[in-house]
């Protein structure tokens, strides 16, 4: 299938008083149309930054972003504004991502007004109420303010706002991590239904592995701005190859008494993403790390078909040829 989005060696560095912070450091991946790419990693690994760079909310330092065959990396602001019809984002925190002084309908209406996709006022009203219906917001909530609603309803507003321009690609930046577990399921199901209905492509950023397993086709595991493993979702959960992914997956709680499991406990701290030294960034916490892991940069390679890993000793660790 045709990839809707290709990201090649994308980098985003921040200038900080202490030095260059490598938030996203050479990330490469594709997303196919209608699929969901899960991006997982712990806090501060650059997954949200990645989403924001793709949407030009932050400027990229280096690399390429190709959307539907068109290089949009260095495209200017006004040109990109048109692309916002196509690419949208759902934010993590439904409490801070909605303007407290705008009513629900004003929030959902705003993208339509900005892009003038619909001009007639009555038509806009119709569109807003149909959007509210799509995301499961009762029409009587149209004139309420966000603070009057619970987290689930607010996140539905965020989803409706993202859908208002009929986009085909949506970055979901931890859309359910601020919600109660019961509401999480509702919102996730809604998002999956919408995906089928509207043929949406998701880039789903999260640190919740159960969520990502539930929703993704492919999974991308990030560690300190770099890709460590990329594979089909099922494959990754059945057969994680990178030591970091193994540790990550072993941390998923399993609600079963009989289930005996091996926990891989990580020791040590994250290495600083500011002016990182060469070598594998995970080496300091890795139980398999050898001398050269601390000096040589690992290269991402296809270890098994469709399964990419960035580790010097991936074959030895997993008894692969």
């Amino acid at each position: 299938m045709e990839p809707i989005l290709q990201v090649k060696d994308l980098k985003k560095y921040f200038n900080t008083p202490k030095g260059l912070l490598h938030a996203v450091d050479g990330v490469t991946f594709n997303i196919d149309k209608g699929e969901t790419l899960g991006v997982v990693g712990e806090s501060g690994c650059g997954k949200s930054t990645l989403g924001r760079v793709i949407l030009h909310l932050l400027e990229s330092t280096d690399g390429q972003i190709i959307y539907e065959g068109e290089d949009i990396t260095k495209i200017n602001k006004d040109k990109f504004r048109e692309l916002r019809n196509e690419m949208q984002i759902i934010f993590q925190d439904p409490f801070s991502s909605l303007n407290p002084r705008m009513t629900v309908s004003e929030i959902i209406r705003e993208p339509i007004i900005i892009h003038k996709t619909i001009k007639d006022k009555k038509e806009i009203e119709k569109k807003v109420s149909s959007l509210m219906d799509t995301v499961g917001l009762a029409e009587r909530l149209a004139n309420t303010y966000p603070h009057e609603l619970d987290g689930g309803r607010r996140q539905r507003i965020g989803i409706a706002r993202a859908l208002a321009l009929n986009p085909s690609f949506i970055v979901c930046d931890e859309p359910v991590s601020a919600l109660d577990v019961s509401i999480q399921a509702q919102v996730l199901n809604l998002m999956q239904d919408l995906q089928k209905e509207l043929n949406l492509t998701y880039m789903f950023i999260t640190h919740d592995l159960s969520v990502v397993k539930h929703i993704s086709n492919d999974i991308l595991v990030m560690y300190l701005g770099q890709l460590v493993e990329k594979s089909d979702a099922k494959d990754l959960f059945k057969n994680p190859l990178h030591p970091y992914t193994k540790a990550l997956l072993s941390a998923i709680p399993v609600p079963s008494l009989k289930h005996k499991r091996e926990r891989v406990l990580l020791k040590g701290e994250l290495t600083s993403p500011i002016n990182p030294k060469p070598g594998c960034r995970f080496a300091q916490r890795c139980v398999y790390a050898k001398e050269n892991c601390h000096h040589d940069n690992p290269v991402i390679e296809e270890v098994l078909p469709g399964h990419f890993v960035s580790c010097h000793y991936v074959r030895e660790i997993n008894n692969l040829k």
Partner: protein
């Protein structure tokens, strides 16, 4: 929030944002008291000519009835030149309110714009604008106003400009501070993500959210502008005699304070009531403008 509460809030037909604000303001008794007092002053100022003729009662001297206490003919008494104090107060309200409101208007428009630019764009703009404001702030505002009035000459317009300019820095600071705190909110990023331009982000997202401190400062500012005007008139740089102005009335009445208390007391009460009511109204407006405080 329970469903019932949501129902209650939404069962009403759609109303404009301002009628919603008005509904909330009405519940605040102190704010309504303030609004009532200030409305009375505004009405008195508007119909001053109908109530008391400017030339005949407020200006014309009549030494035969000088320094009379409150009576049926002159409900607030007469001043040292036999002019009716009530008439002078209501004609003075015109000057005071006009100068106060317009001066604050000038200050909010210029100071607010500068502050918004400084806060929103940051960096060089911020530095240049705010350092200039710091220089302004280093000069006591009343001295600055005196300097401007003496440079431009005494007239009502120059008085407004002087009082307005001298309070620009405080508005610039307030607006900048609230813009800075709002700029990094996620809903600003959300507005960018849906393609909003800078002007829209400033007008639709930042200003409405930073309005509360400006309104409070603005109502307080009208009060202090009235005081500045009174102060300038008191030292003879404001409204020129014999035109009635509250500060000038205080100033000329101070010589007779031992014999005739009413000559200074009533203009003083007028100033006090105006300022108090503006402050009450400002506080109430701040609460009413914030939908999060809605009960």
């Amino acid at each position: 929030m329970s469903d019932k509460a949501v129902q209650k809030n939404t069962s009403k037909k759609k109303k404009g944002q301002w009628s919603e604000v008005w509904r909330r303001l009405r519940r605040n008794k102190m704010a309504m008291l303030g609004l009532t007092i200030i409305s009375i002053f505004i009405l008195l100022a508007l119909f001053a000519d109908v109530i008391a003729d400017y030339d005949e009662v407020a200006i014309k001297m009549n030494t035969s009835i000088r320094l009379q206490g409150p009576s049926k003919d002159h409900i607030l008494g007469t001043d040292e030149l036999g002019r009716d104090i009530f008439a002078r107060i209501i004609h003075g309200a015109r000057v005071s309110l006009q100068v106060g409101i317009i001066a604050v208007g000038i200050a909010i428009i210029i100071g607010g714009t500068l502050g918004a630019i400084a806060g929103f764009y940051g960096g060089k703009f911020d530095n240049i604008i705010m350092r200039a404001m710091d220089i302004f702030l280093a000069i006591p505002s009343i001295l600055l106003a005196i300097a401007i009035v003496s440079a431009l000459g005494t007239s009502m317009l120059n008085l407004m400009i002087a009082v307005g300019i001298s309070s620009i820095p405080s508005y610039a600071r307030i607006v900048r501070a609230s813009v800075l705190s709002i700029k990094d909110q996620e809903y600003i990023e959300a507005a960018r993500a849906i393609g909003a331009k800078d002007t829209r982000i400033i007008l639709k997202h930042i200003i409405p959210n930073s309005l509360a401190p400006i309104i409070v400062q603005g109502t307080l500012g009208v009060a202090s502008a009235i005081l500045s005007t009174a102060g300038l008139s008191f030292i003879g740089l404001g409204i020129q005699k014999p035109a009635p102005e509250w500060g000038a009335m205080l100033s000329s009445g101070k010589d007779f304070i031992r014999q005739s208390w009413h000559v200074t007391t009533f203009p003083g009460i007028a100033i006090m009531l105006t300022i108090l009511s503006l402050n009450l109204l400002g506080d109430g407006l701040r609460d009413a403008l914030d939908p999060r405080l809605k009960q």
